[in-house]
Symmetry: C3
């Protein structure tokens, strides 16, 4: 019988960077006891992102961060919205360039992630934040 | 008992820019009477995007537009596909850099949007268009 | 009665470029016999993307590829993660800038794709790869 479940994770960041939370997601899925269905994640913020990326070599995260820092420079004179500092508007742009929603099927009790895929919260602000991620599952 | 519903919104744009339509979505959800489940939005076009972004300070939209205009310049000599004008191919690139799908859980009758999150149609063409957004809901 | 189905497609690429696979998706949907519901696609890799884009003029794909090649240059000295060659880290960045998940509602037996929308696998590596796409459907 199909059913659904909701949960909210709060993730504490220590400033800009990629934070993997795959384990928190799979722990919740085990607890609610689903075997097959669809997982959806929604980040309730506009200055951070959800990202599925390689979780093997940490240089990948370092290079992603370096590329986005060059593409969307802090303190760019183009920006008018600077109320919260020079990383304020770049954080919104980085969010627009990435995503705040993810979906991953669950099949035979395993998320359909590839061998090297991890689920990340990408904090775009320089200061620490508490970030809320809504989880939804529908399946059986 | 789980059930599903479909709807299509047609949004009229007045040319390039961000158009919030959160209210049209919540109005439909109230009408069909769901309390918990998953909302999916799909934009049926390749030269506009769906975006969740800050709906407080309008400067955020102004700065997003300014950044994308600089990143993907109209009339760039790189582009071959210019049949509909110098904003034609930049519109496709902007769409590739953003998204045409969104998902938002509904829990206890409220969309799991953050305090500052609004749902936007981002028109990338300079001229007015009628844009169709398919809505799907599954839940109860 | 709502039910769900899973499938996995393996797509062979011949190196960097956009490969349409809309037909493989609709063929599977016809076979499993759904009429209404939600299709989700998840790509199990971190150096390729899923993209919905125009499937009429092939110049659109040529221009998308040209833009991303200029935006994220192969061999950029910024990158430290170069184990698999000069297109290794650019492939991860291109994936972060696009998406690995897509959702499309199915209504009255038809995917809610726009007239010009096709479903593409975007291979970001120069060499041929076998790419796995997980499909999930829930509906009736």
């Amino acid at each position: 019988m199909l059913r659904q479940a909701f949960h909210e994770l709060t993730l504490a960041t220590r400033g800009r960077g990629l934070y993997e939370f795959t384990d928190a997601v799979t722990t919740w899925l085990s607890k609610v006891g689903f075997k097959n269905g669809l997982l959806t994640l929604h980040l309730r913020h506009t200055s951070a992102s959800l990202l599925i990326q390689e979780n093997a070599d940490p240089d990948v995260r370092r290079d992603l961060e370096a590329f986005f820092a060059r593409l969307v420079p802090d303190g760019d004179r183009l920006f008018v919205h600077t109320a919260e500092g020079e990383d304020d508007m770049p954080a919104h742009v980085r969010t627009a360039l990435t995503a705040v929603n993810l979906n991953i099927p669950l099949h035979d009790g395993r998320l359909a992630l590839g061998t090297w895929q991890g689920i990340y919260l990408w904090e775009h602000r320089r200061s620490p934040h508490a970030r809320r991620v809504a989880l939804h599952f529908i399946g059986e």
